[in-house]
């Protein structure tokens, strides 16, 4: 893998090292600690049509080599994002990929409409781990029909904007869902989002999180992420973007070897904000 321009869909990236959606917020919070300009892209925190306050109660819990989070998609909403946050991120010299919530169908379509009108948006990532609010609450990305619907609509409405489909690993057979995504028109697949986990507070004897279940990220999940990226890379032709637990230059090299066209760094920036840049440096020709 090298630091050279490459395409995903119609979008050109200068290197294959991205910040993952969520941990880095809107990117701008990390100015001073991460040289955003130097990265291939910054995937911004998932936004929804309307602002979301996120989950009550404890939101973070460390586990062995991992982190559970129950942030619950707190975000400023599409309007504030496009008016305030995105311009600031562009100002900082970053290449944004905008992560969109796959919420209820109506809101989602409006979110796509608004996004399609933003001249500065070249690429989006669909967060297909969002709960299916209309039925059940399992992630929309676990149901092939819904998955197809969400991706097809995005491609249709967003026109030339590159669409990455970010899959949830909490399924039996992720490669078949990757194939569905490719057929639905996704320009790339991002894998993986967090695993479902939980923790218990031994003082209260109850769950640490108000919502009980939370998302597990960090080095603990890397073997799972690597396996998923490998499996998907075997069955799709579009680029696969690997994410999950990357904490060193060697870790990123493993994802490239497993077939990833690019990598995203999430949890590791909490303890090692210099890592994304070091990975970029490691790929210098």
């Amino acid at each position: 893998m090298r630091n050279k321009n490459f395409y995903i869909g119609n979008t050109i990236f200068k290197n294959p090292v991205f910040l993952a959606s969520g941990p880095a917020g809107y990117g701008i919070e990390y100015r001073g600690l991460i040289n955003l300009e130097k990265l291939g892209a910054v995937v911004t925190k998932t936004i929804s049509l309307m602002p979301k306050e996120g989950n009550p109660g404890t939101r973070l819990q460390e586990t062995e080599a991992g982190l559970l989070n129950s942030v619950g998609l707190e975000n400023v909403g599409a309007r504030c994002f496009f008016e305030d946050k995105l311009p600031e991120l562009l100002n900082a010299g970053a290449k944004p990929v905008v992560s969109l919530a796959c919420e209820g169908k109506e809101e989602y379509l409006s979110l796509l409409e608004i996004t399609s009108k933003q001249k500065k948006v070249e690429a989006v990532e669909l967060n297909l781990s969002c709960p299916n609010v209309e039925e059940g609450g399992m992630a929309v990305g676990t149901d092939p029909k819904l998955l197809r619907w969400y991706i097809t609509k995005a491609k249709l409405i967003l026109g030339n904007i590159t669409v990455l489909a970010k899959l949830t690993p909490n399924v039996e057979n992720i490669s078949s869902l990757a194939v569905v995504s490719e057929r639905a028109g996704a320009d790339g697949i991002t894998a993986i989002n967090t695993l479902l986990g939980m923790d218990i507070n031994l003082e209260s004897g109850g769950p640490v999180f108000d919502r009980v279940v939370a998302g597990l990220s960090g080095p603990a999940i890397m073997p799972v992420a690597l396996r998923v990226v490998w499996e998907i890379a075997q069955v799709v032709r579009i680029p696969v973007i690997g994410v999950g637990g990357i904490s060193s230059v060697e870790d990123s090299a493993k994802f490239f070897a497993a077939g990833a066209a690019a990598v995203q760094i999430g949890t590791a920036i909490f303890y090692d904000p210099g890592l994304p840049e070091r990975i970029v440096d490691s790929l210098e020709v």
Binding site: E29, R31, G32, L60, A65
Partner: protein, 271 residues
């Protein structure tokens, strides 16, 4: 914006002194570009070389001198234990100064500080900084501990006009908790009018607020929570503020650490 001045630094541990059965005063070499930290701001420290513990740990700044950053670390778990085991000369990676709000005092006003445990730290920094820069009126520290072993206030006796100590076991000073002592001192007219600053366990701060110190112009408090990013990005360390429409979360690391005590939605915070 202090926000733009945060950075990631490698510092050297200059001195580690055990100052109570469970607490250590750490003096780190101050990086050249590390400037202008304000009381209530903190640094986040990379504890281990591997993944255990995974996250950095946040520590309030207790003092900044020409060449050093002073922290106070209480051993409560594996991260703090590892930090306390570091020796002179060890390299310590820090990010800071962090925190988007801080304690402020108008020139010449009196300040009453109420601290529980290591909540003392940002208050000492405020007192020292203001004494140098703002010529405040009187400064009173009210410090509460379980027993006389853990009275960290002895580290900063000279930094306040007066220091009042409360112990639950009555082994030193006022017999009771620090809020009871606050009420007692207020009733007896010992405390000057002015601004109120607090840092400590949620229960303490809440009780202090409930004790309704009307004679104080305002009450600001510095909060703590488990943190991941430390920069307001991840939304992991939020506190609910009172709000008419729905819930309003603010990040303690990015919007705090300092909030007006009465803005906090105490029904939802610190259960």
């Amino acid at each position: 914006m202090t926000d733009l001045m945060k950075g990631s630094y490698e510092t050297e541990l200059v001195l580690s002194e055990k100052v109570s059965p469970s607490s250590f005063l750490l003096t780190l070499s101050k990086p050249d570009r590390f400037i202008d930290a304000m009381p209530g701001q903190f640094v986040s420290i990379k504890i281990g070389s591997g993944t255990s513990p995974l996250l950095r740990r946040p520590y309030s700044i207790m003092d900044i001198t020409k060449n050093s950053i002073v922290l106070l670390v209480r051993v409560v778990g594996k991260g703090s234990a590892l930090l306390a085991s570091r020796r002179k000369g060890d390299l310590i990676e820090i990010i800071g100064p962090l925190g988007g709000s801080h304690f402020e005092l108008k020139n010449g006003l009196n300040a009453v500080f109420v601290a529980g445990g290591t909540g003392l730290v940002p208050l000492v920094f405020a007192a020292r900084k203001w004494t140098k820069e703002k010529k405040p009126g009187e400064t009173h520290l009210l410090y509460g501990a379980a027993g006389s072993d853990e009275i960290l206030a002895d580290l900063c006796m000279g930094d306040f006009t007066e220091v009042h100590i409360a112990t639950i076991d009555g082994s030193r000073g006022f017999n009771g908790n620090v809020v009871e002592m606050f009420q007692d001192l207020s009733e007896r007219g010992v405390l000057p009018e002015g601004e109120l600053f607090s840092c400590g366990p949620v229960g303490m701060v809440k009780a202090l607020l409930d004790s309704n110190p009307a004679s104080f112009a305002d009450h600001h408090t510095s909060l703590e929570a488990v943190m991941a990013c430390g920069v307001g990005a991840c939304r992991g360390c939020v506190v609910p503020l009172k709000s008419k429409n729905g819930i309003k979360y603010r990040s303690i690391c990015g919007d705090g650490t300092v909030f007006r005590a009465k803005d906090i939605d105490w029904k939802r915070w610190g259960k």
